[in-house]
Structure formats: structure tokens, C-alpha cells
């Protein structure tokens, strides 16, 4: 994986000092909160309900065991012994003091980490496929391109005060594991007929209050023009994105209002101009970055899993993913224990995962947007030993992609923007479905819960989505069905009137009953919904 050279390290170190100085000026009163807020946000520091919250960037979700270990230590040293993995493949600490923030950033910098641009109206941390570099089905490893974009987007002088936040995802497989088309820019690395690699650009997707699926605006951008093309996309947005209304300021609104064709025309015009400016990094840089992502030294070994332990076999079936080397798999560590808080891990658990990565996965880990952790390269021969250790640490839940593996944002328990709590719903649903053994019968069912319209819990893209709203001071929940953030991207539709907390849990139970009654063959919940439509579900929920 990528490691810093002295230039990268100097950039991050300079940022720590810059932030230390900004925090000093805030505490001395030289900066008002209005002036300081965008600065602290660009270092990932929010003011939430109970304290400051620090969001640490995990570029394209990849980190090594030393970095993971440091995250665990920071949780214990500066927070209350835990962290929360997010749907943007980042980690959040919930109980941070402003006085400590610069010291934490300094600790992070020691392990080549930072919180740069994890918030604010700028280009955010670049996300990617959590199985990148390991998946059997990928064209190439997308992370070198993501890293190139990380550098380009870090402290970009022109694009630091955009109309609104800006999220980019890069993938390189037909199967989309990164919700690519629900990003401001989604890039798929593809191959043209001549066998050359290039970037396919989708622009103007997003969730939030106006969910949209990004249209493709360019089928193939040659790799030696990748940054230039992205710069053109951003410049058109920076100049013409709406700034009169915060809720209409994302690029999806610009693309929608201009129309895809007109937006594309403007980008192409800007692109032609920027090509003449020679802003593209040398291609040799992409080659240099690629060398950092060379495969580890895989060895041939057992290709068959010993399934004699039935509990282990269930975990293998659910929580492993096919690797490009047939003696390995990628193993998913679920952070969704039954009744637990989705995405939370204690400092000790984080250090355990770091150690397991070192022992079993060539020192590497990935964070999934579904708030789980991946050990990307595990020898099939080592799987049982790994699983045994995970079980002991309370990290062995065999529930990937089941209803228990739901995404839930922090919600009103932590978040200043939330209207309703998300976590208690997640806890109760997983307890209920686990107890009735329905989880197994339902198979793949992607459930996503957001505590407000900003949709950090991706509810628009859930096979079943729940959105918490504020109904005259009490929590209320809207149910939606039929969303997907995979390559068959679709947006979920609301079933009808909302529910109380108890009511929405009953409602989830009812819609899953409809599925179990109606499904044909190997259909997933989503497939059945697409075939039979909303009506049977509505009928079950609201009666005649």
C-alpha cells in the first residue's frame, strides 16, 4: 500500500502546525466561531451534541496495522475508549477536546494519517472498493488512481471553498461495492478496445435530501488526462454551482438544472482549455504510485475450506469474498454484533484487528462503507485460526449483507444534525431478527438507517431504508423500499405514512414476511420488490 515520502510527510506535518495555530487563534479570540468553523471542519473537527467530534481520513479505506493500532491508542488516550467507523470509510471519535485536537493530528501524522478535508465544502476523502487489490473480479487495483486524486485534491487552492461538499469514489470492477454512482464524481477505471486503461466519469450523483444517480458524462478519459478532466468538472461546479441555497448547492443540482448535456459541454470546453495549461501530473508519478500497490508475495496453499465446524462454515459463507489468488480470500470482520452499535469498535478491538492484519493479511486492512473491516488477503489455510481469534474478541458475527449488517448513522444519540435516533433501531432490529432466526431465511438484505434527511446512513440506497424525522418533537420513522447502491443503482421509494419506533420495527417485520411469501427461486428481497412492486408491501403495512 501507499507510504509517504518526505514530501507527503511534510504536507501533513505542515497541516498539523497550521491547525495548531488556527486553534490557538480561536482560543485567543482572533477568530470568531463563524470564521473558525470552516477551518476546523476542513480538519475533520465538528461540534456535535456532547463534544467535538474528530473524523479521521482513511484514504480509499486502506490502512496498515501500525495505523490501525494508532487509531486504537488514540481512542484510549484522547477519547472514551472507542471509535466509530463511518459510511465514508473513515473513523470518528466522539469525545474530543478542542485543546487536544492538534496533538491528536500530530499523533496521526506520525503514522502517515490525517483528518484533512474530512468535512467542509471541499473535496472529501476519496473512497473506493473495499476489496480493491484483492477481488477476483477487478480489472485493476483502483487505489493508485485514488491516491493520485488524493494528492491532487489535498489543499487544492481553487477548490477549497466550493458551493458544498464534494465526494469522489474510484472503482475498477463491474461490480460496484462503493456506491460509485451516488457520489459527486464516480470514476470507473475501464479498458477500451485497444486495451488501454482509462477513466469513465459519472457526475452529479448523491443522496441527501435530493437523491440522484449520477449520469455518465465521459466514457473514457485517458489516464494521462485524468486529473485535468477532474479539474474541469470541479471548475465548472465552483463557478456555476448554486450558492444561494445550501440545499441546492451540490453538483447534482447543477447537473440536473443545466441538463447533463449542457454540463458536459461546459466541462469539455474547460477541459480543452486546461489541457493547454499542462496541469496533469507526469505519468511517471502514476507509475511510482502503482509500485506501492504491488501484490504482496502470495503463496500457493490450500484452496479448500475445511467446513467440519458448522459455525465456522456459516461465517465463511457469509463473511468471505473471492480473492484473485485462489489460495486466499478476503475476510470481513463484522462490526455489527447482535444488539451492538453498528460501526463502533473499542480501542482494544481496534488493536486486535491491527494485530490480526499483521499476522494474517500482509499487514493490511480495509474499512468498508458498510462500517465493517476487511482483512483483504487471508490464506484459506489460516481462516479457521483467524475466525477463532475473532470469535474470542467478539468480532466474529457471521452476518455480512444480511439484515443484521445494517448501516446506521450515529443519529440523534450523537449528531447535531439528526432528527431521530438511528442506533436503537439498529440494535432492536438485529436482536429481533436474530432471535427469530429470520436473518438466515432472508439472505442478502441491505438495510440502511439514517437519522435525518442528510442520509449518512444511505437509506435511499437500502433494499429497506429507514429515515428518522422529527414529528412535533417526537421521533418518527419513514420506511422505504427498493434502493440499491450496487451496480444496479436505484433509489428507494417511501411506503407511505411514517411510524413510531415500535411501529417501524413491526413494519420491517411485515415487509420481510411479504418477501418470504412472494419470493421465487433465489430471488433476493430487492429482486422480489422489483418484480412485484410496492403494492403488496403497502397492503401488508397499511391494510385496505
Amino acid at each position: 500500500m501507499y507510504s509517504y515520502d518526505h514530501y507527503d510527510q511534510a504536507m501533513v506535518d505542515a497541516r498539523v502546525e497550521e491547525f495548531r495555530d488556527q486553534a490557538r487563534r480561536r482560543l485567543e479570540g482572533k477568530l470568531t466561531e463563524d470564521q473558525f468553523k470552516p477551518l476546523r471542519l476542513m480538519n475533520g473537527l465538528y461540534l456535535q451534541l456532547h463534544a467535538y467530534m474528530l473524523r479521521v481520513a482513511i484514504p480509499y479505506g486502506t490502512l496498515n496495522s501500525r495505523q490501525m493500532h494508532a487509531l486504537g491508542d488514540i481512542a484510549d488516550k484522547y477519547d472514551r475508549g472507542y471509535g466509530h467507523f463511518t459510511t465514508r470509510q473513515n473513523l470518528q471519535y466522539n469525545w474530543i477536546k478542542l485543546e487536544d485536537a492538534a496533538d491528536i493530528l500530530a499523533d496521526l501524522a506520525k503514522v502517515e494519517m490525517h483528518a484533512i478535508q474530512t468535512s467542509g465544502n471541499c473535496i472529501r476523502n476519496i473512497s473506493s472498493d473495499h476489496f480493491a487489490g484483492a477481488a477476483a473480479d477487478e480489472l485493476v487495483d483502483p487505489r493508485p488512481y485514488a491516491e493520485l486524486m488524493r494528492q491532487w485534491s489535498s489543499f487544492h487552492p481553487e477548490f477549497t471553498y466550493l458551493p458544498r461538499k464534494f465526494k469522489i469514489a474510484v472503482i475498477a470492477a463491474e461490480k460496484d461495492r462503493a456506491a460509485m454512482r451516488l457520489h459527486d464524481i464516480g470514476i470507473q477505471i475501464v479498458q477500451n478496445e485497444a486495451g488501454e486503461l482509462g477513466a469513465r466519469f459519472y457526475v452529479g450523483g448523491g443522496m441527501g435530501r435530493t437523491p440522484m444517480i449520477a449520469p455518465m458524462i465521459r466514457n473514457f478519459v485517458p489516464l494521462d488526462q485524468l486529473i485535468t478532466y477532474a479539474e474541469a468538472c470541479l471548475r465548472v461546479y465552483n463557478r456555476y454551482g448554486r450558492r444561494d441555497n445550501k440545499y441546492k448547492a451540490r453538483i447534482k443540482i447543477l447537473v440536473h438544472e443545466l441538463g447533463k448535456d449542457e454540463y458536459t459541454r461546459q466541462v469539455e470546453e474547460e477541459f480543452a482549455h486546461l489541457l493547454s495549461q499542462g496541469i496533469e501530473p507526469p505519468l511517471a508519478e502514476l507509475e511510482r504510485i502503482r509500485t506501492h500497490f504491488a501484490d504482496p508475495a502470495f503463496e500457493d496453499g490450500t484452496k479448500q475450506v475445511d467446513r467440519s465446524d458448522p459455525d465456522f462454515a456459516v461465517w465463511v459463507d457469509r463473511n468471505t469474498h473471492r480473492h484473485k489468488h485462489d489460495s486466499y480470500v478476503s475476510a470481513v470482520i463484522s462490526l455489527k454484533p447482535v444488539g451492538g452499535i453498528p460501526g463502533d469498535a473499542t480501542g482494544e478491538q481496534i488493536r486486535i484487528m491491527a494485530r490480526l492484519a499483521k499476522q494474517y493479511s500482509f499487514d493490511e486492512l480495509r474499512i468498508m462503507h458498510t462500517q465493517n473491516v476487511v482483512l483483504p488477503h487471508v490464506k484459506i489455510a489460516d481462516l479457521h485460526a483467524l475466525w477463532t481469534e475473532l470469535e474470542t474478541a467478539g468480532l466474529g458475527a457471521p452476518n455480512m449483507d444480511t439484515i443484521e449488517d445494517m448501516i446506521a448513522c450515529p443519529g440523534l444519540d450523537y449528531c447535531a444534525l439528526a432528527n431521530a435516533r438511528s442506533i436503537p433501531l439498529a440494535q432492536r432490529i438485529s436482536e429481533r431478527f436474530d432471535a427469530s432466526d429470520k436473518t438466515a431465511r432472508l439472505g442478502e438484505l441491505k438495510m440502511k438507517i439514517s437519522g435525518c434527511i442528510n442520509a449518512c446512513g444511505h437509506h435511499h440506497a437500502g433494499h429497506i431504508g429507514i429515515l428518522g424525522v422529527d414529528k412535533k418533537g417526537t421521533e418518527n420513522y419513514q420506511l422505504s423500499l427498493g434502493g440499491s447502491e450496487a451496480e444496479d443503482t436505484s433509489l428507494a421509494k417511501i411506503t407511505g405514512p411514517g411510524f413510531t419506533e415500535d411501529g417501524v420495527i413491526e413494519a420491517v417485520d411485515k415487509v420481510t414476511d411479504v418477501y418470504l411469501e412472494q419470493r421465487q427461486g433465489e430471488e433476493r428481497f430487492l429482486d422480489t420488490y422489483r418484480r412485484i412492486g410496492m403494492e403488496p408491501f403497502k397492503e401488508a403495512l397499511y391494510g385496505a
Binding site: 480561536r26 482560543l27 479570540g29 466561531e33 461540534l47 456532547h50 463534544a51 421521533e475
Partner: protein, 99 residues
């Protein structure tokens, strides 16, 4: 009653205006009546509190203060999903007060 709340600038901790200073405990909050804006402006300028605001609340028969909105009740107690990290870790039933 109208009470004032915000977060401590340095630590981020939730605080409540007790008439002279900012307390960690909502039950210390006092009714500021018409003076809300004046106190908020002064205290924020002094950096004794960050992004403060005024809210509706009621003082109950036992003298305890109950903010009108669930968000401020969660702020007053702590995350309902981590009773151990709230201000009343010994009484998990305090969560019921929030809801």
C-alpha cells in the same frame, strides 16, 4: 421557562447557564426570561461558551429542569445507547427521562 445552553469552547462539553456561570448539569439552569439575547452575546464574546442558544424548558415538581426538545434532553444526559457514558451511569433508567 427559557434556559440557555451551549458547549464549552475548549472541551466541547454541554453546558447550561446557571445565572453566573456555565454548569454541566441541566438542573442548574435558570430561567433567563427576556435576557436571553443579551447574555448569549456577552458570554459568547467572552468565549466562556461556544455556539450558545436559548431553548424552552419546564421546571418539574421535583425541581428538575426538562428541556422541551428531545435533542436537548439527549444533550443534557448523554447518548442513550451508552448509559455508561452519560452523566448518570449508575441509573440506566435515566434514559426513560429522555424519551
Amino acid at each position: 421557562m427559557i434556559i440557555l445552553t451551549g458547549n464549552d469552547l475548549k472541551t466541547g462539553a454541554v453546558t447550561w447557564w446557571n445565572g453566573a456561570d456555565w454548569s454541566l448539569y441541566v438542573d442548574d439552569a435558570v430561567d433567563v426570561g427576556e435576557q436571553a439575547e443579551e447574555i448569549l452575546a456577552r458570554e459568547e464574546a467572552l468565549r466562556r461558551v461556544n455556539v450558545p442558544y436559548s431553548i424552552q424548558a419546564t421546571r418539574e415538581d421535583d425541581g428538575k429542569v426538562r428541556p422541551a426538545h428531545i435533542k436537548d434532553r439527549i444533550r443534557a444526559l448523554g447518548p442513550t445507547v451508552r448509559p455508561d457514558l452519560t452523566l448518570k451511569p449508575q441509573s440506566p433508567e435515566a434514559i426513560d427521562w429522555v424519551i
